[in-house]
Subunit: 303 residues, 2 copies
């Protein structure tokens, strides 16, 4: 197999989602899945994750159809896939978790296939910082490192998370996580403070309010969100954003401030597709031309 | 006197403000003052408002120094100026009102000086819709009409407010007001819905998250906020935003979508100056070159 441009590591799951539009069960989900489906429209992605023997063949076929490299996806015999049930009944910005069954994900120890180790970019989706560090250890030193995280790790494993931040080039977080990690309410000050933890760039996602990026030498950029007038299911919006963002960087092949600016726009556009249907279903019938047209439309709106 | 490019009508007051930075009393305030001080960096503004005999001469001199036309500012003999006391101790996005003394503002009946009636633009700052309509009646029909409003009028005088929206070209509102007026939570849908009330454009201010504008034929644009890492006093930020926005339109002399896009950037920049000191004090020592440099910096950040 060829080395993918991005090696992405994270959860693979089956989600049950309740929104004002209804309830849907056993949907394809997980951070690395949402990330990879989105990034697959821009570049070649290989995923590292784990699922059980109950993981439906159709999901495998869908990801193969999207040209996602599945060499790193382990299917555990007799194991059950990670399941999550959540609802967004009062607020689309905050999921309420009803139930989490880690199943095979509880023992996840990411092993990077040899082909993947020289990927120019490694994306560490939201998994325990210790596992993120374990992935970094296996990757070639030249890989550009981009991570996500969540409040669970900020609250409980801050020391390891700090090691991750020191090791990565870019951290992608949401506004609440940046505020919580720094203890600073002003998002501009908080975003700048993140850089003191060692990363080159900190990207702050703000949902319907777009995203910002902070970098060295006082670099700052921001984009509004692409306007979406009907959100159906926000699950995976942040991972789809990351897929567009990291996918663009992978294709561009550099990490200059101008590249980061443009990558935020790709993130905003990919996130906007994801939220208009359950799971990553919106990407099943989305054509690359449609995505490019939306990027142009978005740039005209804001440019 | 020459006809000002903008005739602006609204409150003139003395504010007592409590923020985490401290308490300051009897500061120059009022919606039309914040608006005019900001717009005065871009164009010629005349204000229509009322104050009492106690209104400090230094405030008059400051506004004259900013070349603001004060022909429409009535000073009521033996009258007391409108006073407002508010705090921002928990949330910079929402003032807590401690005390409002309307004083001479209670009987405010805006009378437009003859010189002002042919202004190309009339800005109706946040006053009762009935007074906004009274101003529109006095202005030349060719004046381009831009209004602000607040929840008080949305909740209590909706019928008159609808007449204002039908009569104006642009309504400037904040996110909460647009949601409350339309009853729609999704801001994109809510902003589009506003256009059904008759205006050409609806501008939605989102504080630290920037601003958006909606127009006919599905026109949409958005800007992030200029990054401010230390907010001292947000009072008047929305009016300063409007000053930059309307001031740019006045100087450009048209209302094309491209002009609206650029005007949002001017709004964002002018609002960013206002919040970094109490009252409109930041504008006392701001040079026009400093503002132009920040606009260029901002366009580089987001462009």
């Amino acid at each position: 197999m060829a080395t993918p441009k991005i090696t992405a590591v994270g959860s693979v799951g089956l989600d049950t989602i309740i929104t004002p539009s209804g309830k849907r069960e056993e949907l394809l989900g997980g951070s690395v899945v949402h990330f990879a489906v989105s990034a697959s429209f821009l570049t070649k992605v290989g995923i590292v994750g784990v699922a059980g023997a109950d993981f439906p063949e159709e999901h495998i076929l869908f990801m193969k159809d999207r040209k996602i490299d599945l060499e790193g996806l382990e299917l555990v015999e007799n194991g059950k896939t990670f399941r999550w049930t959540g609802s967004y009944l009062e607020d689309f910005n905050m999921a309420k978790t009803h139930c989490t069954d880690l199943n095979v994900f509880a023992d996840f120890q990411p092993e990077i296939p040899d082909d993947y180790k020289t990927s120019p970019i490694v994306f560490l989706a939201n998994i325990a910082p210790a596992l993120q560090l374990h992935v970094i250890d296996q990757m070639n030193e030249t890989s550009y490192r981009i991570c996500d995280t969540m409040n669970l790790w900020i609250d409980n494993t801050r020391e390891e998370l700090c090691k991750v931040f020191e090791a990565v080039n870019i951290a992608i977080m949401n506004d609440g996580e940046v505020r919580s990690f720094t203890g600073i309410d002003n998002l501009i000050k908080a975003g700048r403070r993140m850089l003191e933890y060692g990363m080159d760039y900190c990207v702050v996602k703000k949902g319907e309010h777009g995203a910002m990026a902070f970098g060295k030498n006082n670099f700052f950029t921001a984009v509004p969100a692409y306007p979406v007038d009907e959100v159906i299911d926000p699950t995976g919006a942040g991972d789809s954003f990351a897929g567009g963002f990291v996918g663009y960087i992978a294709e561009k092949g550099d990490h200059k401030p101008e590249t980061i600016k443009k990558a935020l726009r790709w993130g905003s556009v990919m996130g906007s597709f994801n939220v208009t249907d359950f799971s990553c279903d919106r990407f099943r019938d989305t054509k690359p031309e449609e995505i490019k047209a939306r990027l142009v439309e978005f740039e005209n709106m804001i440019g």
